[in-house]
């Protein structure tokens, strides 16, 4: 039955490709489960907790958009390795709740897929690893090139930028980024919130 082999080989390659692509989603989903555990622990202990022992990053914040029920745990650093598991806190940008601009970045096809559904005026809650929670309100969005983001690091305000690749439904990586800009409204009283 030698004629059965080409389709089988083709099936194998196809399966590997599909599996590889699916694994990105599986990893992104599984990592978030582990990260939530680590983040809860680090709020409780006040120390950075690595989600798994060989991780080179740790959760620093949680982003939540209540209206569309989306949430994600943000990791320190925006290296490719970190971004595979969760949104990354871009190096050298401010912490959430601090003066300056906090920039969080994530993949458009996994953790920040929900960004396309966030509309201007939505509340974005960011919980830091010290347990403090801050509410930002989305005020504008833009499509920019990766190296000309126009984000002003020296800003005097308290700002938040969520960034991902643009367009959302494209198949190949490109230079354009979608940024959603939000401004701090104030800290959230968690007891009252619950």
């Amino acid at each position: 039955m030698p004629r059965f082999h080409p389709p089988l080989a083709l099936a194998l390659v196809g399966a590997i490709l599909f599996g590889d692509g699916a694994s990105i989603h599986a990893k992104a989903w599984l990592a978030q489960v582990l990260l939530e555990r680590a983040f809860a622990q680090s709020i409780a202990t006040g120390q950075p907790v690595k989600p798994w022992s060989w991780a080179d990053t740790w959760p620093v914040a949680q982003i939540e958009v209540k209206r569309i029920g989306a949430q994600a745990i943000v990791l320190a650093g925006s290296s490719g390795q970190a971004l595979a598991f969760g949104p990354g806190h871009v190096e050298q940008t401010a912490d959430a709740g601090e003066r300056g601009v906090a920039v969080y970045s994530a993949h458009r096809d996994t953790h920040f897929r929900f960004l396309q559904h966030v509309s201007i005026g939505d509340d974005i809650d960011v919980t830091r690893s010290d347990g403090k929670r801050f509410r930002y309100r989305a005020d504008h969005s833009a499509v920019v090139r990766f190296d000309a983001s126009g984000i002003d690091l020296a800003t005097q305000g308290h700002e938040l930028v969520l960034s991902t690749c643009w367009p959302f439904d494209a198949l190949t990586p490109g230079p354009d980024r979608y940024i959603l800009h939000a401004t701090l409204i104030g800290p959230v009283n968690q007891a009252a919130d619950r």
Binding site: F4, D20, K27, A154
Partner: protein, 757 residues
């Protein structure tokens, strides 16, 4: 029978085909899931496949292939696999005012080739190196001091002839190189050097410092040429092409501490004979064990047997008595001359009697990449402390530099609360990155724009001194110092002490070291005592009977708590000498009889070393022509058997060891990165650095009225580079599905064909 068979084969094949198809689909589904799970596990455990790990755009700029020649890159081939192993033992005996150190370097060749090893190592700045011994098996070969070129010729000859040889050369007063030729496979060669150094004294505290690693230096690129015009004024000149002509000689390979365990294990023993009853003896950066055989003696050893050579060893000791002796007088008779070493601490006036002079202080902070890690924290803490000490009637300014620079205020401003606040937030926002272009910053600091002669002008310069073009900086200071005084603050685990001492000497100031955050307050308080109190000025020395050759020839001003250290060569040890000067407004003098001097060791070498230093300073200040200075240095070095810029020590084992025809491989010994340094900040930045176009941005005075003024340092990018945030998962899944469908289609098509036959 056949009919039934035919009937059955007509009825059932359809069912069989459907079942088979179903089974195949099921198997494929399972396979997809299995592969998916395997891929997930693999990618979770080891990030093998970079295809899905979207790399940030910036990382692509850091290709090692882009490195300029002369930057430090780890050689992965040869060095790591066949590396010569090095162990270091430092044995120091302190006797009163001087110390003698014996540094033994053990070179072991574990490989199968004959090797020439080259090791670049730091030297105590005041250290006079006079002895080289090479131990091969049970033979000890003692080295000779020769003129540098001659020593190199002797060494090269021995190297070619297969003889074992060792060569000790000075690259900078605090950077030396040892070359050892013809270390055979499996052999061990010991190279021992010895040096003499005066003990450092400040106030009540005595100290010694053993540098253990040469910090990677920033060597400005030779793109910007400077011109040397001929002195005859003919208008013809030659361009000097490189500010660091010997960059290759001071740039040994540096290991990335994240990828390699620390190397070059070092053991240290200090036999401390202070000459007085000892109080506190403290090692600042290493854990030590201390034995006390008697009240005046301590034996200090490392708590761990060895430590990696990645930071300076600093030992301080205090007398048990409340006050350190204010005078120390020591003598040594060598040849037909007597040598004298004197420590005299001038009295300090009461703070109350003295109204502090209003001052103009310019703070300069180095925020280059080499300051990354703990150094920038120490530097910022020191500067913030200093800002807190300013008085409202003082004037001040802040300059920060890497390969760009910012001057905070257009001219110096009063030290009122608003300006201090502004400066504090400016300093707080600094981050360490970029190259180290120190000369323009020093030039800006020395520009006396205020020109108010009622103010004492002081420059406080905080840096690790990790540059290779020290000479350029010294020339800048000499040319522009005017009435400014320069105070150097050496930051970090392995500061360039030579740069600190020489810059503060040329700038008629003082220097201090800060090696950890804990030291910030104590050391800065000491520095401020020097800044706020009047110096002892107009000092002169007169010998009553003896003919004396005194060094330093022009006695410098002495700051609070510092001793005046004099070395002299005398024709006879008779009579006395008198030191005169002014403490603030009041005259001061002291007379010391020479007969009371105690016997000391190695004083002639220290005198010669300081005379050599004087000649080098005179050369920098153009008081001596380069030829005359060289002549003086050479004569002193040969007479007192010292290693200098112009003389080297060379030892050759006459017995040939490497058989003819066996090749000799070169091994440049790697060194550690100094403790607390950030590898990427130093090497990442240097690799992607474009030839420095010096940007000078000044904060506009009018800009203060607008609140949105940028205080972010220029080193920070103006905008954020957003990371790559697209994966190829969709693409892969779609491609995978298409292939699966295609295979399915082919499968069905094949089955049909098969069955049709």
């Amino acid at each position: 029978m056949t009919t039934i068979d035919d009937f059955e084969s007509d009825e059932h094949p359809m069912l069989k085909r459907l079942i088979k198809l179903g089974l195949v689909l099921l198997a494929q589904g399972i396979a997809v899931m299995l592969i998916g799970i395997v891929a997930l596990l693999v990618s979770l455990f080891v990030s093998l496949d970079p295809a899905w790990s979207a790399t940030s755009e910036q990382a692509t700029l850091l290709q090692p292939a882009d490195a300029r020649s002369g930057t430090l890159l780890l050689k992965n081939d040869g060095v790591t696999s066949e590396a010569v192993r090095l162990g270091i033992d430092v044995d120091i005996t302190v006797s009163g005012p001087t110390l003698r150190a014996r540094v033994t370097q053990v070179f072991r060749n574990p490989g199968k080739d004959w090797v020439e090893a080259i090791y670049v190592y730091p030297m105590a700045t005041g250290g006079a190196v006079d002895t080289l011994k090479m131990v091969v098996g049970d033979r000890v070969i003692v080295g000779d001091v020769k003129e540098r070129q001659q020593a190199r010729v002797i060494y090269e000859q021995a190297r070619r002839d297969g003889q074992k040889a060792a060569l000790t050369e000075q690259e900078r007063p605090n950077i030396f190189t040892n070359s050892v030729a013809n270390i055979g496979p499996g052999e061990t060669v010991l190279v021992q050097i010895e040096y003499q150094e005066p003990v450092h004294q400040s106030g009540n505290e005595y100290s010694l410092r053993v540098p253990m690693v040469v910090a990677p230096r920033y060597n400005p690129s030779p793109v910007v040429q400077s011109v040397d015009f001929r002195p005859d004024g003919s208008g013809w000149g030659a361009t000097k092409t490189d500010p660091v002509p010997d960059r290759d000689r001071i740039s040994p390979p540096v290991l990335d501490p994240r990828k390699h365990p620390p190397i070059n294990p070092t053991s240290i023993t200090v036999r401390l004979q202070a000459g007085f009853a000892l109080g506190e003896v403290k090692s600042h950066h290493h854990a030590v064990k201390t034995e006390s055989p008697d009240a005046t003696t301590r034996i200090v050893r490392l708590a761990d047997d060895t430590v990696p050579a990645d930071r300076d060893f600093e030992l301080t000791w205090k007398p048990a008595a409340e006050k350190a002796p204010s005078v120390g007088l020591f003598r040594e008779h060598v040849g037909d001359a007597d040598y004298l070493l004197a420590f005299v601490t001038p009295p300090t006036l009461d703070q109350a009697a003295q109204k502090p002079l209003p001052r103009e202080v310019v703070f300069v902070i180095d925020n280059s990449g080499s300051m990354g890690g703990t150094s920038i924290v120490q530097a910022k803490a020191s500067l913030l402390y200093a800002l807190g000490r300013l008085q409202p009637n003082d004037h001040f300014n802040v300059i920060r530099f890497d390969d760009t620079m910012d001057v905070l205020f257009a001219t110096s401003v009063p030290g009122d609360a608003e300006h201090i606040r502004e400066a504090t937030s400016f300093v707080g926002a600094l981050q360490a990155r970029g190259g180290t272009e120190m000369v323009p910053a020093m030039r800006a600091a020395l520009a006396d724009k205020l020109g108010d002669i009622n103010l004492v002008r002081q420059v406080v310069f905080l840096t690790d001194g990790a540059i290779g073009n020290e000479q350029q900086l010294f020339e800048t200071i000499t040319a522009m110092r005017g009435r400014s005084r320069i105070f150097m603050v050496g930051i970090g685990s392995a500061p360039n002490t030579y740069l600190m001492t020489r810059a503060s000497e040329l700038g008629r100031g003082a220097f201090t070291h800060i090696g950890s955050v804990e030291q910030v307050e104590e050391r800065m308080r000491g520095l401020f005592a020097k800044l706020e109190n009047p110096a002892v000025t107009g000092l002169s020395v007169k010998f009553s009977e003896a003919q004396a050759d005194v060094t330093p020839a022009i006695v410098p001003d002495v700051y609070r708590d510092e001793p005046l250290v004099l070395a002299a060569k005398l024709d006879k040890l008779q009579g006395s000498f008198e030191i005169k000067g002014r403490v603030g407004d009041r005259p001061w003098s002291v007379t010391l009889p020479l007969q009371n001097a105690a016997e000391g060791k190695g004083l002639s070498k220290l005198w010669a070393k300081r005379k050599i230093g004087d000649a080098e300073v005179a050369r920098t200040m153009r008081e001596l022509s380069p030829e005359d200075a060289d002549k003086t240095v050479l004569a002193l070095a040969l007479e007192h058997q010292l290693v200098t810029r112009l003389t080297s020590l060379v030892a050759v084992d006459k017995t040939p060891s490497r058989p003819e025809g066996e090749p000799l491989k070169l091994s440049e010994l790697p060194i550690n990165l100094p403790a607390g340094w950030d590898f990427d900040k130093v090497f990442g930045e240097q690799m992607q650095r474009v030839p420095a176009q010096l940007l000078e941005r000044r904060a506009d005075a009018s800009g203060r009225t607008t609140t949105a003024r940028r205080l972010a340092p220029a080193a920070q990018p103006d905008t954020v580079r957003l990371p790559k945030t697209a994966t190829t998962s969709e693409l892969k899944m779609i491609a995978g599905l298409i292939l699966l469908l295609l295979s399915l289609f082919l499968f069905v098509f094949n089955r049909r064909q098969l069955l049709a036959h």
